[in-house]
């Protein structure tokens, strides 16, 4: 299963799981990045990092290192 940093720009799908049990994973989930949520990878910054995603109806900037913790299902 791909992670959020591996899918192409413009890709839509569903978040399937978050790796890890630390504060980072917890913070991601508080911000609405939780399993079962639809997402859209909107853009990436000029040097490819960070990424801009849409989740829970808002835009979130997320670094590739954190995006690599988010497993997604592409629709």
């Amino acid at each position: 299963m791909p992670t959020l940093d591996q899918v192409p720009i413009g890709c839509k799908g569903i978040i399937s799981s978050i790796k890890g049990e630390d504060a980072t994973a917890q913070r991601l989930m508080e911000m609405g990045v939780i399993e079962g949520e639809p997402f859209e990878l909107v853009a990436s910054a000029p040097m490819g990092d960070p990424l801009e995603i849409k989740v829970q109806g808002y835009r979130l900037s997320i670094r590739k290192s954190e995006a690599a913790l988010v497993f997604v299902q592409v629709s």
């Binding site: 890890g20 630390d22 980072t24 913070r27 508080e30 911000m31 609405g32 399993e35 853009a43």
Partner: protein, 713 residues
């Protein structure tokens, strides 16, 4: 725990909300800038307290810093939780909570509200940005939502003062009728284990706190509470966690999942969203503003305009302040008799006050720009664009603008770090901001490049040297940040997750409030200290004014009409002053840098404010304090010999001129910056640290410059 029987008790509420919800605007509008900053030891956050009167009810508001979740992982975040729950010994427990939520992004904003619902306090929900929600086709039935949640739900537009009376009425009516919020639903196993922990907490407990202890895996909160409330919690928490784990419950995700599921259940019947997603205004604008080429172009255009504005607009204002200062000085000189009092007022106090006020134009202009960029939503995009570059030195995109602002002046630059949420990132940015070459260094560069690196070189050479001088800051600051982030500020910070808010028209009242706050807090806290430092430096240059042979310098200067004689006396006086003596005694230290005692004195005198160096050089090279013509100073520097002895070699050559410039590029010769660092970090440790590391770095770099330079000469 709410029965406090004081005769004149005001109703206390705590204001909670996500960042970018207009929380600060609401606070300012409710309290009318009538607030003060609470003082809590050991934390860097500013927590404001304000009050207002509505229908003869006194209401006190505590402004809790904007947050997405009440999950404490640092002392700053812990303070917020303590204040909300009334666990802080310095504050009484609030009577109610006011949660402000962005209606255009309701679900995520309500996450924090669900935590507030578990505190056992009545809650009022204020919804901001309803117009943005409506524009994107979202319709919210406030009445239905209020009924569903069982609490007041009020739409507000704080900067247009809409919905405020209704909100105030709701707050006042809470005093008589407490409408308790619903409790978000968790699975039965979570509830029973949470109840066990709740039992241990005694009268300090709440469902929220018990839940936090259960869900928080890093143990920070448990340790803090055990220490502060002297309870033993950890064994019971671990036992409950194990019990839940054995049931196959993922403790990390269960909280977020349950809360979001519950929010959806509450919100869905009350909110209608458009069927097909229309491409919104923000999407269209973002296609350009975060574009790989156009986005960067636009970013640099904005930065360039900001800088040009900062230099071009601030310069005449700063000159006016200078002129006004001179006028007041002349006025004082004409009415006061010659003597110590006049010198104290004109050369000490007036210089000190002037030295504070002169920063105001830059602060006002920079904060004008920054708050417009912040309020319209562009600031987050700028951080998004620059994050990759800044990540290389261990910072985030949010550090870029404060560092760039420091090229104009580190004082507003340090103030601008307030946008950086991560504490370590913010501190690292504050510590390296003064390394950026600020505008006060320019006169030194211009003087010494003009004197020693212009004649006999190509037309392009002076410009190149100036560029390299600025380059020192641009290279050293990121390197220093990288060093600090991997040593003293090491540690895993919060992940850089940043909301990119919807674009909107900046509100005048928000921009005004931020400018006012930055200027006022600078004047009030840093300003007094800066003025005091300037008076101190006046004193060490004034005393003793009688030489060991009994000559009274001020009297003799007043007695003579001859300008040359006056300048010579002034030089002798300053040489004899405490600062002059200190300068001479440090000559062995500055000699390896290629300087004599006069440069030593000028450097020492410019520690409070580097811009005075040109004036001090004029004094120590015998030109008097008001050398009108910089060309004259330049020629004297070119001809100056070691210790003013005609038999000695020339004082300055290229290596010693460069060593002086390098020293000024890296040294922390700015009392104002140090005071602002003190103001922003809340301790004397960090300004002391900044001073020591920068001065040490400057000394070593100047030493290397001179010694290596001499090898080539």
């Amino acid at each position: 725990m709410h029965e406090i029987t004081a005769p004149l008790k005001s109703f206390r509420i705590a204001l909670l909300g996500n960042p970018n919800t207009g929380k600060t605007t609401l606070f300012n509008v409710l309290t009318g800038l009538n607030h003060r900053v609470g003082n809590y030891p050991g934390v860097t956050v500013e927590i404001k307290k304000g009050s207002f009167v509505h229908q003869s009810n006194a209401i006190e508001i505590l402004d809790i810093p904007g947050t997405y979740s009440l999950a404490p992982r640092s002392p700053d975040e812990l303070l917020s939780v303590e204040l909300v729950l009334g666990l802080n010994p310095l504050e009484k427990v609030p009577d109610a909570l006011l949660v402000i939520a962005d209606a255009s992004n309701l679900e995520r904003n309500l996450y924090l509200a669900t935590q507030a619902f578990e505190t056992g306090l009545p809650v009022i929900l204020a919804l901001s940005m309803v117009d943005l929600a409506t524009a994107s086709g979202v319709k919210i039935d406030f009445k239905a939502l209020s009924e569903k949640l069982g609490i007041p739900v009020i739409a507000i537009h704080a900067s247009k003062r809409k919905g405020l009376d209704e909100l105030k009425n709701a707050i006042v009516s809470l005093q008589t009728e407490k409408r308790m919020p619903p409790v978000p639903v968790f699975s039965q196993d979570v509830i029973s284990n949470r109840a066990k922990i709740l039992g241990l907490l005694g009268d300090k407990g709440s469902l929220f706190l018990a839940g936090r202890l259960l869900f928080e895996t890093d143990g920070f909160l448990a340790q803090q509470l055990e220490r502060k409330l002297s309870l033993s919690l950890t064994p019971a928490i671990l036992e409950s966690r194990e019990a839940l784990k054995s049931l196959g419950i993922n403790l990390v995700s269960i909280e977020a999942k349950s809360r979001y599921a519950w929010i959806r259940e509450m919100v869905q019947p009350c909110v209608s969203k458009p069927e097909s997603k229309v491409t919104g205004f923000t999407d269209r604008v973002d296609r350009i503003l975060t574009h790989k080429v156009f986005g960067m172009f636009f970013f640099f255009l904005i930065m360039f305009s900001m800088f040009t504005g900062l230099f071009v607009l601030a310069k005449p204002l700063m000159e006016w302040i200078g002129e006004a200062k001179n006028l007041v000085g002349q006025g004082l000189e004409s009415v006061l008799p010659d003597g110590m009092l006049r010198s104290l007022l004109v050369d000490g106090l007036l210089e000190g006050v002037g030295g504070v006020v002169v920063f105001l134009p830059q602060i006002v202009i920079l904060f004008g720009f920054l708050s417009v960029l912040e309020d319209c939503g562009y600031m987050a995009r700028a951080a998004f664009l620059m994050d990759r570059v800044m990540a290389k030195c261990g910072l985030s995109g949010k550090s870029f603008i404060p560092l760039l602002s420091s090229v104009a002046c580190a004082v507003p630059g340090v103030l601008a770090t307030r946008v950086i949420e991560d504490k370590r990132d913010r501190l690292a940015t504050i510590l390296v901001a003064p390394l950026m070459s600020c505008s006060a260094r320019l006169p030194v560069y211009v003087l010494f490049i003009g004197a020693f690196l212009t004649e006999g070189y190509g037309w392009w050479f002076p410009g190149l040297v100036l560029f390299l001088m600025y380059g020192i800051g641009f290279v050293t600051a990121p390197l220093a940040a990288m060093l600090f982030k991997s040593t003293i500020l090491k540690g895993k910070g919060a992940p850089f997750l940043m909301e990119l808010p919807v674009y909107k028209t900046p509100s005048f009242s928000v921009v005004f409030a931020r400018i006012y706050e930055a200027s006022f807090s600078f004047l009030k806290r840093a300003g007094t200290l800066i003025a005091a430092t300037m008076v101190l430096i006046w004193a060490v240059l004034y005393f003793p004014y009688v030489s060991s042979t009994g000559e009274n310098y001020p009297e003799r200067i007043a007695a003579t009409e001859n300008k040359e004689q006056q300048d010579a006396l002034l030089l002798e006086w300053k040489k004899n002053s405490y600062l002059g003596r200190a300068g001479r005694s440090i000559e062995p230290m500055v000699k390896p840098l290629g300087w004599d005692w006069r440069i030593g004195v000028a450097t020492l005198a410019s520690f409070p404010a580097r811009e005075v160096v040109v004036g001090t050089l004029s004094i120590v090279f015998g030109l008097g304090k008001d050398a009108q013509d910089e060309q004259q100073l330049l020629e004297i520097l070119q001809k100056a010999r070691w210790n003013d002895d005609p038999d000695q070699p020339l004082l300055f050559n290229v290596p010693s001129a460069l060593s002086l410039m390098v020293f000024f590029a890296l040294c922390c010769q700015c009392g104002s910056t140090l005071m602002v660092i003190r103001q922003e970090t809340g301790t004397w440790f960090w300004p002391a640290f900044t001073f020591i590391y920068m001065t040490g770095l400057a000394y070593i770099a100047a030493l290397l410059t001179f010694q290596v330079g001499m090898l080539f000469l």
